[in-house]
């Protein structure tokens, strides 16, 4: 499809401004841009057709099943969008006087209190823009806590080898050394390995629970004990909160600090890669280090209170992705305590149901009960007929199903990680399972043909090697 630049016609313009009703001001020429912009020149209809065509070459939750493991692609309620689009929210300036912002501040305060209740934490910051930004912020809190307690030698972050890449990367951004510890085959923490890894230099253990294989680690209290006895803190990566929200609280498991992904667990849309929102919650001991400002309440009046003396500072220009917060609060308000629990349980039911239907056909990474997601492997298929997880993913695309996460977690070879989420019906799951089993038969019957997938999309498999060797990252007109 042509780029918007190739649809440009000199002299066309969609934007029309009123005549300037004040005298035109001129800057001295030496201050001015040395070359004209090369932005596209299109009419409004050109623009509408272009972006509508692009949208038809994209696939969202509204289009169909999206069992992308670890990403919690649940339905994004339209009500939430409407709430976030109210002019009383979109039209307010972040630096208005606080008495003119009471609705917004109350909203943030309410959301913070609810997230604190759901996570079992004492205090919340809504500032981080995404999950990884939340991780980064939480590690800053951990760092500040240890420094403040006279423990600068605590410079190591322990992560299981099954962890998301953001964990070690966020640790490195805080100048921490990452210590990887092996997980058991079910992705659970190897207690002996953990005991051997903790010590005087341990700052924290970063851990999801349920883990990245989709199993709830029942030893969590022992894990917390081991980390705390060594003087370290326990960090909850909220990527996998969905199947336990409202049922089990990170705070009760022994975690000291958590980050959440509102764009996963709390139904806000992913927008093709963001904006998300990554609130961080912590126990009282870590609260003095939270970034400012924080919304506080006194006698029904809400205020933006700057961070205290011990605050790590601030991690964002303003207060966070406010419109995303509105959507998350709308979700919590709609579901309430019982709805949240039921959503979590049905997320687990859907994953277990799919796993039950598929596990006899693929080696499953756990034969036990899973939580929100499960991992099956194409390793056997690869050995037998050379069909890889990637091939399988591409075949699913031709059947109108978004592929699961592939090649993650790293501890499973040829991994396919499915997270159906609670908003999918039994019919959708049955249809997907039927399709997957059919594809399995096709793969075995004619692997060469199978490797041609996808064939029904606007493009076939792209040449990623050339893309990386000779990067073309911006449009250049053919003539130049």
């Amino acid at each position: 499809m042509k780029t918007i630049f190739e649809k440009s016609v000199p002299g066309r313009q969609a934007l029309s401004l009123p005549e300037c009703d004040v005298p035109l001001y001129q800057l001295s020429p030496e201050l001015l841009r040395e070359k004209p912009l090369r932005f596209p020149e299109v009419a409004e209809i050109d623009l509408v057709r272009h972006y509508t065509a692009l949208s038809k070459r994209a696939y969202g939750v509204d289009d169909g099943f999206y069992p992308l493991g670890s990403c919690t692609m649940k339905y994004n309620p339209k009500l939430n969008e409407e709430a976030a689009n109210l002019p009383g929210f979109t039209g307010i300036h972040p630096l208005q006087e606080q008495k003119t912002l009471q609705g917004a501040l109350k909203l943030m305060y309410t959301l913070g209190a609810k997230l604190a209740e759901i996570t079992g934490m004492d205090q919340i910051t809504l500032q981080p823009a995404a999950g990884a930004h939340g991780e980064y912020t939480a590690l800053q809190l951990i760092r500040a806590y240890h420094l403040d307690h006279g423990n600068p030698q605590r410079n190591k972050i322990i992560v299981p080898d099954s962890a998301h890449g953001t964990n070690p990367a966020s640790a490195a951004m805080n100048d921490y050394i990452t210590v990887n510890i092996p997980s058991g085959p079910d992705g659970c923490v190897d207690l002996e390995a953990l005991k051997a890894a903790v010590g005087e230099d341990t700052a924290a253990l970063m851990l999801t629970n349920p883990n990245t294989v989709g199993i709830f680690d029942k030893n969590i209290r022992q894990i917390a004990q081991i980390v705390h006895d060594a003087g370290g803190l326990l960090y909850y990566d909220g990527a996998n909160l969905n199947p336990i929200m409202g049922l089990i609280r990170p705070g009760d498991m022994g975690y000291d600090v958590v980050h959440l992904n509102l764009h996963k667990t709390f139904s806000t849309p992913h927008g093709g890669g963001g904006p998300g929102s990554g609130p961080v919650g912590c126990k009282a001991a870590l609260a003095p280090y939270l970034p400012g400002p924080i919304v506080t309440e006194k006698d029904g009046v809400y205020s933006l209170t700057p961070g205290g003396d011990k605050s790590i500072g601030t991690v964002k220009t303003f207060y966070g992705n406010f419109l995303v917060m509105i959507k998350a609060l709308a979700y919590i308000e709609t579901l309430g305590a019982e709805g949240i629990r039921l959503a979590a349980q049905l997320a687990a039911l859907n994953a277990n149901y799919m796993m039950a239907r598929l596990k006899g056909h693929f080696p499953a990474y756990s034969s036990d009960i899973c939580m929100h997601e499960f991992v099956i492997s194409c390793e056997k298929l690869k050995e037998e007929v050379g069909i890889t997880a990637l091939d399988f993913a591409k075949a699913l695309i031709d059947r109108g199903i978004h592929p699961p996460t592939i090649y993650f977690p790293l501890i499973v070879h040829e991994a396919l990680m499915f997270e159906p989420t609670e908003t999918e019906s039994k019919q959708t799951l049955d249809q997907a399972c039927d399709t997957i089993l059919e594809l399995l038969r096709e793969a075995k019957a004619d692997p060469a043909a199978f490797k041609q997938h996808p064939v029904k999309m606007p493009i076939g498999r792209p040449d990623e090697v050339t893309a990386a060797r000779k990067p073309i990252l911006v449009y250049t007109p053919a003539s130049s």
Partner: protein
């Protein structure tokens, strides 16, 4: 209460049978001791009640009839077509475009966004977006880190919150920060020269700066280059479309806050961090990048590329942990930039510039109001007044006007854009006159 779940009770029973457990609770057996007994949340509400709740909250915020405040968040006209296009569900409800074949639309839109940002800044490459203007600036500084140098110089006229974010990001890494003083609201070249020592790996300024003033960016760039340090510019997009490009000023990395490009004020977010840099620094860029390639049949294809830089592959050796970014805001900005086009961008810039200068002229005609600095500005300026800022702001608020931002007891930072009419400005002047009387 609605859970947005389609399951009927009989379906739940049949699914539980397939799984081989008796109840939903059984899925959580073996760790009953961890179950939460009482979750202190109210019961769910109907959709009608929820929207009422939010409408009520929204009504407790004041919407001003006219806004003369910027300071990092700008009120520009947002064409209807933008909201209509960005609301398309395929854009809203899609995940990151990992599966290229079913995500060509999103990938191409990002490629076009990158192209426009590169063109705007005059740089060679760009990425899919960063969290906001401040984090982008911190990331840019970190891109320039060198083994043997450990200091950055920051203009005192960066946005104060950006200064805080940079400090937060750099402190754990042990990087030293020094501020460059101002002269007439501009980054002082003599102070810069004095502080440019061998251990400085980066210098960052804003164009236009927090006080609205146009910096001598080219002169600063020259000094910085002569010291073999990296040069970072944080730009306001309309100023950037109009003023000498950062590339021409010698910038190595250019970042900015993209909110003015079609995003509503929204109490500070979601906004958009953008970044442009040189080809040489491509592999230091944090976050996602889209590249153009082809499929086996030779058709143009777009993919996430250079992924080996990123956290999911490089883990603790990645330059940043960023994963989700502000993709939908980048889409908004791309559509805005294409809508405005080559000429429209300039028209918005010219009108903002002209209205701000008219506003400044009208305010300073009043006795007791003067410009704080003599330097040339773009669409923001600082007023020094004999009347306290709080009184000005309150008087304006009563007339439904959001006045300039209080910077000091007698100082306010004002802004005008294409949306402020001559009539609005006259109304504001009348309010200011009355305070005097």
């Amino acid at each position: 209460m609605s859970t947005y779940t389609p399951h009927t009770p009989s379906e739940i029973r049949s699914m539980l049978d397939t799984v081989g457990v008796k109840s939903l609770e059984d899925l959580y057996s073996g760790f009953e001791d961890l179950w939460t007994k009482n979750l202190n949340l109210p019961p769910g509400k109907s959709q009608m009640e929820v929207i009422r709740f939010f409408t009520e909250l929204a009504s407790q915020n004041k919407l001003f009839g006219s806004i003369f405040r910027g300071a990092g968040a700008y009120c520009h006209y947002i064409p209807s077509v933008i909201k209509s296009l960005v609301s398309r569900e395929e854009f809203v409800t899609a995940y990151t475009p990992y599966q290229a074949e079913m995500s060509q639309g999103i990938l191409q839109s990002i490629f076009e966004f990158q192209s426009m940002i590169a063109d705007l800044t005059g740089m060679q490459v760009s990425n899919a977006s960063l969290y906001d203007g401040s984090t982008a600036l911190a990331d840019a500084i970190l891109m320039l880190r060198e083994k043997k140098k450990n200091k950055v110089l920051l203009s005192s006229a960066l946005h104060p919150r950006s200064l805080e974010v940079i400090k937060t990001y750099l402190t754990p890494l042990g990087i030293q920060i020094e501020l460059i003083a101002l002269e007439e609201g501009k980054t002082s070249i003599s102070d810069l020269t004095a502080k440019l020592t061998e251990d400085v790996f980066a210098v960052a300024i804003a164009q236009t700066n927090y006080l609205g003033i146009i910096e001598n960016a080219a002169d600063i760039g020259q000094k910085v280059k002569a010291n073999k340090s990296g040069f970072v510019m944080s730009v306001e997009p309309f100023a950037c479309s109009f003023l000498k490009t950062p590339a021409a000023c010698g910038a190595d990395v250019v970042t900015g806050e993209g909110q003015p490009l079609g995003m509503p004020l929204s109490f500070g977010g979601p906004y958009l961090g953008f970044i442009g840099t040189t080809e040489k620094l491509t592999r230091k860029i944090p976050g996602r990048i889209v590249g153009k390639t082809h499929d086996a049949s030779g058709k143009d294809a777009y993919v996430l590329t250079l992924q080996a830089r990123e956290q999911h592959i490089r883990r603790e050796k990645a330059s940043s942990s960023i994963c989700s970014n502000q993709a939908h805001c980048a889409l908004t900005a791309a559509i805005y930039m294409a809508y405005a086009g080559k000429e429209g961008m300039r028209q918005v810039a010219v009108q903002s510039l002209s209205k701000a200068h008219y506003l400044a002229q009208e305010i300073t005609r009043l006795p007791g109001f003067e410009l704080q600095y003599k330097s040339e500005f773009f669409n923001e300026f600082v007023i020094k007044s004999q009347i306290p800022a709080d009184i000005i702001i309150n008087a304006c608020a009563q007339e439904n006007i959001l006045a300039g931002l209080k910077l000091g007891e007698y100082q306010t930072l004002w802004c005008a854009t294409e949306v402020n009419t001559r009539e609005d400005i006259q109304k504001l002047i009348d309010v200011l006159k009355q305070i005097k009387a």
